[in-house]
């Protein structure tokens, strides 16, 4: 009962938020990034957190969704939702090829192979002509029903919807046979297989669900941003951010990825826009012309990945179960 009330309040806040902060594109933009990272990390968590199979290449599925959607739109001007569905198909094919080969192996092969596959996808897209190569793809106009797609608001609700669906799938899975099987595989593969679990089938199932959700987010992002290239949607950096968000929030928990995104996305924004440096300088703590001031102005903005890294190291040292682990009683 308490949980339902909690979720209802959360949902109400999320739905009402754009009305409250008005149409400020800047804040809506940050919120969209936040929802997207929370959803991406939640989708990754199904495979990485519950099944224990760390994918370091989820950008491949994100990129598959974004590229498929934008290519189909610019070439054939199909319905965006149909393009999104095609994105899921492409991402699923990549996932199935990867999974059916690599999941036969044990240990860390999947992690390594996931990087390799993502790089193959990235380099292919970079070198093919129909993908726009290094120039990327620019989408001039998109129409869906009567929605004003020049506004950010529809994308806010779109991301919110996908996040809600991802969380709902996760919540359902973890109390179902599949969810228990995935956790059993994570804990001990030999024990799992001796108890009747077809290991590669369930790993593939988790990968497929995770990849499909990730590709939907990629499609949405492509429609939202309207310009994509490999460094935006297929970069290893994106894959790493997805993992860090889950680790810092709490791997293998329902809300961990959301908590991770709530912490990291605003932090990244603060660092990127150099709010921190500005505050220090304005407060008179650091002189703008001193060495430290110059450093803050010039470098800190580029250092958000470094700060992510430092936070992750601290998390692994002091919060191995993520921020959510703090609140969990030990049984």
């Amino acid at each position: 009962m308490k949980q339902i009330a909690f979720i209802a309040v959360l949902a109400a806040i999320a739905i009402a938020l754009p009305l409250v902060i008005g149409e400020s594109p800047y804040f809506i933009g940050i919120l969209i990034s936040l929802l997207m990272m929370a959803a991406l990390s939640s989708a990754w968590n199904i495979l990485g957190g519950y099944a224990g199979q760390y994918s370091f290449g989820h950008a491949a599925y994100f990129g598959a969704g974004a590229y498929t959607t934008l290519i189909l739109l610019t070439l054939y001007n199909l319905n965006p939702l149909l393009c999104m569905a095609m994105g899921i198909v492409v991402a699923s094919i990549i996932a199935l090829i990867t999974g059916s080969i690599v999941f036969r192996l044990r240990g860390h092969y999947f992690g390594l192979a996931s990087i390799a596959v993502a790089e193959v996808v990235r380099l292919s897209v970079l070198n093919f002509e129909f993908t726009g190569g290094a120039q990327g793809i620019l989408l001039s106009d998109v129409v869906l029903w009567d929605l004003d797609l020049n506004s950010k608001i529809p994308f806010y609700y779109g991301m919110l919807l996908v996040l809600a669906v991802t969380l709902a799938i996760t919540a359902y899975l973890r109390k179902s046979k599949t969810g228990y099987y995935l956790q059993a595989i994570r804990e001990d593969q030999d024990a799992a297989s001796s108890l009747g679990i077809n290991i590669s089938f369930y790993k593939n199932k988790a990968l497929l669900i995770s990849a499909a959700l990730t590709s939907v987010l990629g499609s949405l992002y492509g429609l939202y941003i309207r310009f994509i290239d490999t460094s935006a949607v297929l970069d290893l950096r994106l894959s790493i951010e997805i993992i860090l968000t889950a680790i810092i929030g709490g791997v293998g928990t329902l809300w961990g990825p959301v908590v991770g995104a709530l912490l990291l996305v605003p932090l990244a924004e603060v660092l990127r826009s150099n709010v921190l440096g500005d505050i220090l300088i304005k407060a008179g703590l650091v002189s703008e012309t001193s060495g430290v001031g110059m450093f803050l102005k010039d470098n800190l903005a580029h250092a958000h990945v470094l700060v992510y890294g430092i936070i992750t190291v601290l998390c692994i040292l002091y919060l191995p179960k993520g921020v959510l682990g703090l609140f969990r009683r030990k049984k």
């Binding site: 228990y180 956790q183 799992a192 297989s193 001796s194 009747g196 679990i197 049984k331």
Partner: protein, 242 residues
């Protein structure tokens, strides 16, 4: 007529040049408690791994319930009704005791509710009902062995392969486990029992096969085995007193 549930015929397992199991054959009758004993390194666990699909046998055949199973995966073997425990226990550490057993139960049901009911029932059988919400990783070894037992029972097996289920236990704990196993047999399961502890084996088994250096040394009833001069030599002469 005697019903044989398991035929192991001429099974060998080589690891490179090492012969771990060499041309071992035996048959297990329905509802028997069948002992598999032998000194350390005799190939008992390797043989278990060949029977349950964890290793492909180099040669030979395993027939379970009229089906050839030595080419199947472990999960397929389990689905046919053969379940095993592990000498070195393998609890699903971060799950609770109840959830561990539920994982076993999911091989016979898709419903979480039913799985929970089956799990509760089996936890009662092994006398672990007081520990359902404890995390499996935190249990002491004696309870982990019981958990292994409950987990395989939840798969509703026709045949149970128990790999040193009494290993590392004290006398009281061993007696409890043996008592539970007798109860399981009464309900109609067939059991193969790997054990080091001669006393435990002879007190519970109907038929015993002795392995030594990968080969079958002797087969017979507990009475025949304990008086067999070859067996005595292998145990006493091998330097591994049971």
């Amino acid at each position: 007529m005697i019903q044989h549930l398991l035929h192991v015929s001429h099974v060998s397992k080589h690891f490179g040049g090492n012969v771990a199991v060499s041309d071992v054959s035996f048959s297990v009758e329905e509802k028997q408690i069948f002992g598999l004993i032998g000194p350390n390194g005799a190939g008992k666990t390797t043989l278990f791994n060949c029977i349950t699909g964890f290793y492909p046998a180099t040669s030979g055949e395993v027939i379970f319930d009229t089906k050839k199973i030595n080419t199947l995966r472990p999960d397929q073997v389990c689905k046919l009704g053969m379940a095993r425990t592990w000498q070195r226990v393998k609890p699903l550490g971060s799950l609770t005791v109840l959830e561990n057993v539920m994982v076993g139960a999911f091989s016979v049901t898709n419903s979480t509710k039913e799985a929970e009911a089956i799990a509760q029932e089996q936890l009662k059988v092994v006398r672990l009902s007081d520990y359902t919400t404890k995390s499996a990783g935190s249990l002491p070894i004696g309870l982990k062995k019981k958990l292994e037992l409950a987990r395989v029972l939840a798969t509703r097996p026709k045949m149970l392969l128990l790999d040193e289920i009494c290993g590392g236990l004290n006398h009281t704990e061993t007696d409890t486990i043996l008592d539970i196993i007798r109860g399981i047999r009464k309900k109609g399961a067939t059991i193969i029992f790997i054990e080091h502890d001669m006393k435990a084996v002879t007190s519970i088994c109907d038929q015993i096969v002795v392995l030594n250096s990968g080969e079958k040394l002797a087969e017979g009833t507990p009475g025949e085995i304990t008086t067999n001069p070859d067996v005595i030599a292998a145990y006493l002469g091998g330097g591994h007193h049971a």
